[in-house]
């Protein structure tokens, strides 16, 4: 499994990509393979506040419904509307096309508590 080296990762299997001011958030390849075929993605609305470690949405697979946990706090400035009609993108392209939300972080230093690619790989290898 190749992990984008410039992304950060959370224990709950979300990735965060720093895009200068705002950050882009999605779920990892590992998360989608554990969940199986995704059939529905529920996202917050633009303007909603999300709080670190609290659920901001959910993904439903054939197998189960899982909450999406915010890797950091901030305000949602954009959501990936394409996922509403094409949830399969989460399985096909978790790191690129299936980005979920773009957030304006409250405190950018929240990023420091997230894992880098190596640390995340180590964690998932143990699971």
């Amino acid at each position: 499994m190749s992990l984008p080296a410039d992304y950060k990762y959370s224990k709950e299997h979300e990735w965060v990509k720093d895009e200068g001011g705002n950050v882009r958030i999605g779920i990892t390849e590992f998360a989608q393979s554990e969940l199986g075929d995704i059939v529905f993605v529920e996202l917050p609305e633009v303007g909603d506040e999300i709080t670190a470690d609290e659920p901001f949405g959910s993904v439903e697979s054939v197998k189960t419904v899982s909450e999406l946990y915010a890797p950091l706090s901030g305000k949602v400035v954009e959501i990936n509307e394409e996922l509403e009609d094409a949830p399969e993108l989460v399985n096909e392209s978790p790191f690129e096309k299936a980005w979920m939300i773009i957030v304006e972080p409250k405190d950018k230093s929240d990023m420091d508590s997230l894992m880098d690619a190596d640390a995340y790989k180590q964690m998932t290898d143990q699971e």
Binding site: V39, F40, E60, V62, K63, T64, S66, E127
Partner: protein, 490 residues
């Protein structure tokens, strides 16, 4: 086989009919004279045109594809799919019960009121609660009712800041859902490695914003929360209430009572523990019992016993209001009452002994062949993990599908969510040792197949009418109704 799967619409042939009625011997009025013209169809309804025999064969074939407790073993964890004694049906069909009309005056329905009152008393004795209402129609309805009672209690005390309901990570999905529907925020308390509620974490979460803790005991892993009294103290000291989800009551009948553990509100699933039909047909019944300080808020009406007989009492100033038309699913309550009276206190105690023994017997037989995340004695159900099989490319879903080839309803899978590749098995007390052994033999054979011949498991089921369904497409692009295609010439 293919023909067998045809829809009734596809069997239809123009002009074929299942009936032949004699000619009318009175003059037929025109439809327009009977109904305003706007209600008249513009084209004939596309009803299937089939013979009576075709119709009978079609639905008989469909009915034979059902799986129920009457046709085979159904170890669906946390659902208590036990045998429903037929004497329950006899009682429910007694004309005095079956032919009642809900608007009959009280003096004509004294027997029904007495039965309900007496059932409430039995359930109060079983749960250790002060008063029971039979109104809620099912488990989740009971949860919501119970939470609304807790909400009314806090509000009556001027305690408006209690916005949170704590639920364990192993909880039934309905618990957090009911909390949200009742206007609370659900917060999750972690489980320990041992599979029990993490008391340290519970202490951190409990506070002035805690409305309640919702708990099943034994929990969904089939484990008894031994520290329940301490947990009750933590919640009560914080000013919250304890809610008992009775889904797993089959493990504790006559052994211990939620009321003695410190719970304030309880719901029972009569369609689980008390042998009324479960799933499909139902309907369910989810009575709620409360301790004294919550009695003033119970749904109106409540049944009272007075000098002259039983009455519905409506004048309850602080009631949360009615939660069900009339008074619950009466016919179901007749069945549960019949069960309780036929079993008696010692019989109910024996139910739980046997349910727990059956589960432990299966756990020990299956232990060498599957991963067991929790090795202590279980109560009425237990969990296995398919981790070992997953490494061989066989997932828990495959194991479940393979069980269909042996004629079993698979156990609950992928729940609780805190166990990887989970299988949750609940045999119930009504199964014989031979059935338990046959099921264990099938499970052991599947575990061996995962090692020697994984394809047979991955491609299962092989003997059913249809094989692997495309569940993904069914969820992403569901086809919800039949549509007529071009007519096929015959």
């Amino acid at each position: 086989m293919t023909k067998d799967q045809a829809l009734i619409f596809e069997l239809s042939r123009e002009g074929r009919t299942g009936h032949s009625l004699p000619d009318m011997d009175v003059e037929a009025p025109a439809v327009e004279d009977l109904l305003p013209g706007k209600f008249k169809r513009k084209e004939p309804a596309e009803l299937p045109q089939v013979s009576e025999l075709q119709l009978v064969r079609h639905y008989t074939a469909l009915s034979r594809r059902n799986h129920g407790v009457d046709s085979g073993f159904y170890p669906l964890g946390s659902c208590t799919m036990k045998y429903n004694p037929k004497v329950n049906e006899d009682a429910a069909r007694l004309p005095g019960f079956a032919h009642l009309h809900p608007y009959q005056p009280e003096e004509q329905i004294q027997g029904a009121l007495e039965l309900m009152y007496s059932l409430q008393q039995s359930l109060e004795a079983v749960t250790g609660m002060d008063q029971v209402t039979l109104q809620p129609a099912a488990g989740a309805h009971g949860e919501w009712t119970g939470l609304m009672l807790i909400r009314a209690y806090h509000e009556a005390n001027g305690d408006h800041g209690r916005t949170k309901v704590i639920v364990p990570d192993s909880a039934h999905g309905t618990n957090p859902a009911s909390a949200v529907v009742a206007g609370f925020e659900a917060v999750t308390v972690r489980s320990t490695e041992e599979g029990l509620v993490d008391l340290e974490h519970l202490r951190e979460l409990a506070g002035s914003d805690t409305a309640a803790l919702m708990l099943t005991n034994p929990n969904t892993l089939g484990l008894f929360e031994r520290q329940i009294v301490e947990m009750a103290d933590i919640i009560h000291e914080a000013g919250g209430k304890l809610y008992y989800d009775g889904a797993n009551s089959n493990a504790i009948l006559g052994m211990t009572r939620p009321g003695d553990m410190g719970f304030d509100v309880v719901h029972l699933n009569l369609h689980k523990t008390f042998t009324t039909p479960h799933g499909g047909g139902g309907p369910g019944s989810g009575p709620v019992g409360v301790k004294q300080d919550l009695v003033p808020y119970l749904p109106a009406p409540v049944i009272r016993k007075a000098q002259h007989g039983y009455t519905f009492h409506y004048d309850i100033p602080e009631t949360i209001g009615r939660v069900k038309p009339f008074y619950g699913n009466f016919g179901i309550n007749v069945r549960a009452y019949t069960y309780i009276r036929t079993m008696g206190p010692e019989g109910l105690r024996q139910v739980s002994r046997q349910a727990v023994l059956n589960a432990n017997y299966m756990l020990r037989r299956l232990e060498p062949h599957f991963d067991t995340p929790y090795t202590q004695h279980c109560k009425h159900e237990f969990v296995l993990s398919g981790k070992r099989q997953k490494k061989l490319g066989v997932r828990t879903l495959d194991i479940a599908k393979r069980l269909l080839d042996f004629g079993y309803h698979p156990p609950t899978i992928y729940f609780p969510v805190n166990v990887e590749e989970c299988l949750m098995i609940e045999p119930t007390e009504t199964e014989s040792k031979e059935t338990l052994d046959e099921f264990c033999d099938a499970m052991i054979q599947i575990a061996q197949e995962a090692e020697s011949n994984p394809e047979i498991v991955q491609d299962a089921p092989h003997t059913t009418v249809v094989g692997r369904m495309d569940e993904t497409t069914a969820a992403r692009k569901p086809v919800l109704r039949w549509e007529k295609r071009e007519t096929v010439s015959t």
